[in-house]
Amino acid sequence: MTEAQQTWREPDADLVRRAMSRLGDLQHRRVFYEKLENPLWVDALDREGVFDSPPELVVNEDGTAHSAPWPEGGYLIRMASSVPGPVARILQRTCTSTNPYVRQLILRAAMALPPDHAAPFAKPLAQYLEEGSLAHAREVVDLAERLAESGKRKAAMRLLQGAFRPRAGEEAAGLGGKRTVKTGLERYWFEDGLPDAVRILVAVQPEKALTTLVSWLEAFMTASGEYVPGRLYDLSHIWRPSIAPHEQNQGSEELGDALIDAVRDLGVRDVLGGRDVADVVEVFERNGQPLSQRIALHVLAVTSPDTDAARDVGFERLLMPALMDSDYRHEYASLARAILPLASEEQVEAWAGVFDAGPHLDDEKLAEAAEHRKLEGETLEDSKVRYREVWRLKLLSAISRDGLPPRYVDELASLEERYGVMDHAEFPSYSTSWVGPTSPVTEEDLMSYGVADLIEYLRTWRPGRPEPWDPSKEGLARALQAVVAKRSEELSAAAAAFADLEPTYVRALFSGLSDALKNGEPVVWEDLLVLAASVAVREDDGSEVSGSMDEDLVWRFAQRSMAALIEQGTRESDYGIPGPQLVRAVDALEPLVSHADPTVEHEERYGGSNMDPLTLSLNTTRPAAMRALIRVAARAKEIAEEEQAADASEEVVSRVLALVDARLQPEKDPSLAEAAALGEGFGRLVWVDRGWTEERLSLLLSADAFGDVIGSTALATYQPSRVLLEVLSPWARMVLERVARGEDVVAGWRRDRGPVEVLGDHLMMLRLWDAIPPDDELLTLYFEQAPLEARAKVLGHLGWLLGRSDDVPEGPLRRAMDFLDTRVVRVRRGDTDPQELDGFYWWARSAKFPPEWWLPRLEEAVRAPGFNPRGMLGEVLEESASLAPASVARILEQLLIHGRNEPFGRYDLIEHAPGILAIAYESGDGDAVAAADRVMDLLGRAGHVEIGDEVSARRQRE
């Protein structure tokens, strides 16, 4: 017994049993063991078997795992330095645990134990590392260091091997998947701890540290499949182009890169520190891996200026034909640059002899390589000569003029003249980035062209080389679009000149003019609409386009841009399409209304689960034309009303309605993208001619996907309006009947709220603004037939909307409260499920309603099992607690009971619990105090043992 222990009182068996009898609850154990300071209790508790059952890992049904805490273990760790013998003895018994939490505790205990007691834990800890239980435990490196400093070298080495030696993981799935590599520490901690590990290795085994490190790198290469033993080939020149730091190193192999850096630096340090160079190089070359060989070349290159021995060994490597291969080139060239300028004449001659004999391929391989690279019309012999010369050019370029003997400087110049300058020749492959497409002429230059020159340039320019980064028609079109947006008046007036240009440039013209209109720039429409009409009749059968992305191979993109321009021209603006010319816009759009795009095949491929009908309608021609056409009619009527001349719009409106009609009957267009365009225009059609629209409701709002898309798109794209809902109500009734039968409704615009919910949103908003009465038939039907989840979402969404709105008048708020009350009454009567009030927390949080109103309703709502306030209620509950302390405490209790598995929502409640509970206790209200007691018990048993102190502190403060 140490002197320090002697001052503690030995526990008597009765006290130990009394304590144990109170420690059934896990949280009581936490409270007790976290504050137990007496080390003499270790043996006393051990005799009672307290440490015999550390918790085990529990695998949940979903495959995840969790572990209960082990407060007894925490106490052992704290006692480790006081009574190391008993603690070590007890923990040795728990080493077989598979629970990561317990394993972590064993590591922490080993950190706290004196080295003699800690060393035996190295073996199990190394095993835990290999099994991945301590992947984030950077402390193992500190433990290894402490053990090494105390002379426990073997134990220290065990830990380092467990933490840093790579081993094969699982085969990664998918195309090109390679094997994963595992280490005891995960990537970040591996990289963070490796420099310290190297330092410890050097301290523990000064001569063998490099060997160990190289063996780790070798293990990485084998485990990752980068190197196959016996093949003398690896891919390191691709993922690690340079052994020295370089921007071409992408860092894609985090473990491998970290190990290369460590091995490289230690190799250089060993040589500069006086270690025999041949020994060091032998350590690298022993495993035969190209990567290790490259590191050896790098070490020799770096150390040769200062070390004669490195120069001698390095020169021997320069004479090895195999190392002139491209896989070694970066490091070989670097070594040559360092040594050749210092070499004697004899040495240069010797090197020249090897170089001149290259490329070092046997006849068969040389013929194969030359054949593979043979140019059109070239003989095999000529190709061999060229192959050899290019090989020499690459190696000489890589070494560079500064490192070459004079006669090779001349040869390099001559080879460059024949084959061009080799950029980045020291790398077998070189990565660079590019952003395109590229225009052959800058936007600034294009701006300076007169119209005639511009048209001529667009007509005559042809792309040169087919590389992706080379100038393309698409690149030129983008520059043109920007220029058109800035010179819109001039170029729209000259639209006729574009008539014979390719579709890529015509599209750019229309798109640039759309941009100009959006920016308030002037557009001249007369000739433009003539061009539009001529573009509309260009042939395009709608079939799928494949091939070059550098130009438009069909006309539909230009036609769609034209429709979009006309749509833009119908918006109120100084430069929109003048009223008299709207009929010309109809002329231009008419051919497109029956365009082949989208074909059924296109819609099957890109629609469905891929793109919703509304999105597809924006990217296909026929719907784009329909959208623009309906807007033209609406604009015509608008202008006629402004000018109080109804006749002015008659021709345009009647032609538009006839064209729409033609898509509905006698044969209906089956396209859902077209339906979405009609849905987006539905409100305008009602406004343009309600009678005409109502006569065609059975065609427009049919009981199928087509009708669903029109109806749901109309609801999703228009603000609530009584007229719109009146016209839509037959469809809405039908939809409610269908969903009541469990059928689905197809959404035209897929977003977080489905068609049935959006219908509810419209109804609620109309009720709030008193546009429909409280007993409106459709509203009543909605709350009778819509699914429970939709009703709950509609009510919740309304609360959310009100919370986001400023200055909501009293009337709508009153009607919202009245309506909600009718639902609460139904819940109370059992006529509807309480889950209908699941979103009521938004109402409470909206700050638009008095707490006296929402608190009792919230108390009813929270009783529903699925009620989840998602962290939204804590603050408002605390703010309202003084008004109704018992009610708020009871709400808190229910939320905590039902929200056990909602960590975020629970956090919010626990943050505000001390304030709520302090108010409840201070209120003196018996119900409030009883509810607060229950909440305290709940929280304490859930591990929030500090809540008692927090509530006390709050009560004192307030």
């Binding site: 009898s21 609850d25 007691d933």
Partner: protein, 96 residues
Amino acid sequence: MNARRRHSALVLGRVETREDATVNLFRDSLRDIERVRHPGRGREVDMDDLRTRFPRALQVVEGVLQSRLTNFFETVDDLSDLLDAANEREDGAVDI
């Protein structure tokens, strides 16, 4: 449900199949009480031993039940008293 599971549910508040020192203490105490409640015909009763063990057993059972049934923080207060005793030094000082 076997006796161990029943006892663990009562003592720990959850069903636990593994050994637990507090559950074992409770089970042993209950057994001691049961032995007195149902004395075996052929079993001798050592009254001195009984006078010592019975109150201890009762105390354990009482402690376990109180911890489960009373408010969490009442037991925390009790534990605080026990910790004062456990952390006492020979000279009577208590580490805070």
